[in-house]
Amino acid sequence: MGGSSKSLFIYAVVYLAFLYAPIALLPIFAFNDSAVIAFPLSGGTLRWFSMLWEAKALQTALYNSVLIAITTALLSTGLGLFAARAAARYEFPAKRGILGFIMLPMILPEIIIGVALLVVLMQLGQPLSIWTVVLGHVLVCTPFSFAILSTAFNSMDNSLEEASLDLGESGTATFFRVILPLVAPGIVASLLVTFTLSLDEFIIAFFLTGSDVTLPVYIWSQLRFPARLPSVMALGLLMVLMSLMLLLIAEFFRRRSSRLVSGVSSIPEEPLL
């Protein structure tokens, strides 16, 4: 037993190193005083970060990406909310087929979605803009939102809703006083997940973006200039830190929700992300 557990331990360490070591290189080269990404290191510098500060095109791309991500998160979570509520509570004809169609974009290759949407938009004579990217992102993010919110709705006890009606509250007021507060942690999780998905989505954005590029598309275009590579590393470091922060927020809300619901109904213990 001692031998096998030791080899498993080594396996786990190697596995984790393989996964995360490349990310550990980001901070190293983001502060390295050389345009060449290679060892040995040649002293610390902050000039890559000041280069970021001065790159106006990058800031525009970041602004575009954040605007797209926020809009996408709100729209897809809204759509997912309606769909998840309908799926959890009501029976209607062709329910399985309709739900399957909602989940379909999750398994369709993004390149196919990108090309198909581009063809349709061209045929309609619709000029490409931030909003065409939002359209594509909402399409791929809604299934994730639906999946997260379905879990939230299914773990809610139906008799809570009936109890509220029984106490004389109307359907609309019940939705706002009972249902919405109980699925709120799921809504927050869905907003964070769809925001993150949209922020780093590349293929669809690449196809549907016009002159307003998103951040991933901008980074891709910068890779052709080796001198700019270190500042892309600096940018990467900032984005990793931002993602970590979002992840911590999502985890905070998830734990709060399992505390809230425990004892009345069960919620899956594994993290959403």
């Binding site: 006890d157 008799s159 009936e162 109890a163 009606l165 029984d166 004389g168 509250e169 009972v178 009345v264």
Partner: protein
């Protein structure tokens, strides 16, 4: 409740309800007078809950009628019926405090905050 005491307050007439192939209730009729303490007993699966949920307005009879205080309840939604029900799972709102749970039904536009806290 102005009618004589021997008049039925809740009147259930020939109520039937079918779930798929299972007949949960079949031509059930009963009268309950105002102020009466009425118990409905039976093994699990015999339709007690179905009947209770019909009186509360969460299920609808396939046939037959339910009258409360001489008013046919057929088109009346659960939140407009003069009934209250204790759920099997108690249905205590987990996101509200004890006082907010107790005062839930009172917290509508026609009750002020002071009145609610006084009554809770």
């Amino acid at each position: 409740m102005s009618q004589p005491i021997d008049q039925p307050f809740i009147k259930i007439q020939d109520v039937s309800r079918q779930f798929g192939t299972v007949a949960a209730l079949k031509d059930v009729s009963l009268n309950i007078r105002a102020g009466e303490f009425f118990s409905l007993l039976g093994p699990s699966g015999c339709g007690k809950t179905t009947l209770l949920r019909m009186i509360a307005g969460f299920e609808h009879p396939d046939s037959g009628s339910i009258c409360i205080d001489s008013i046919d309840m057929a088109g009346v939604p659960a939140n407009r019926r003069p009934t209250n029900m204790v759920f099997q799972s108690y249905a205590i709102f987990p996101h509200l405090s004890v006082a907010e749970n107790v005062g839930y039904g009172l917290k509508r536009s026609d009750h002020s905050k002071q009145e609610i806290s006084a009554r809770v």
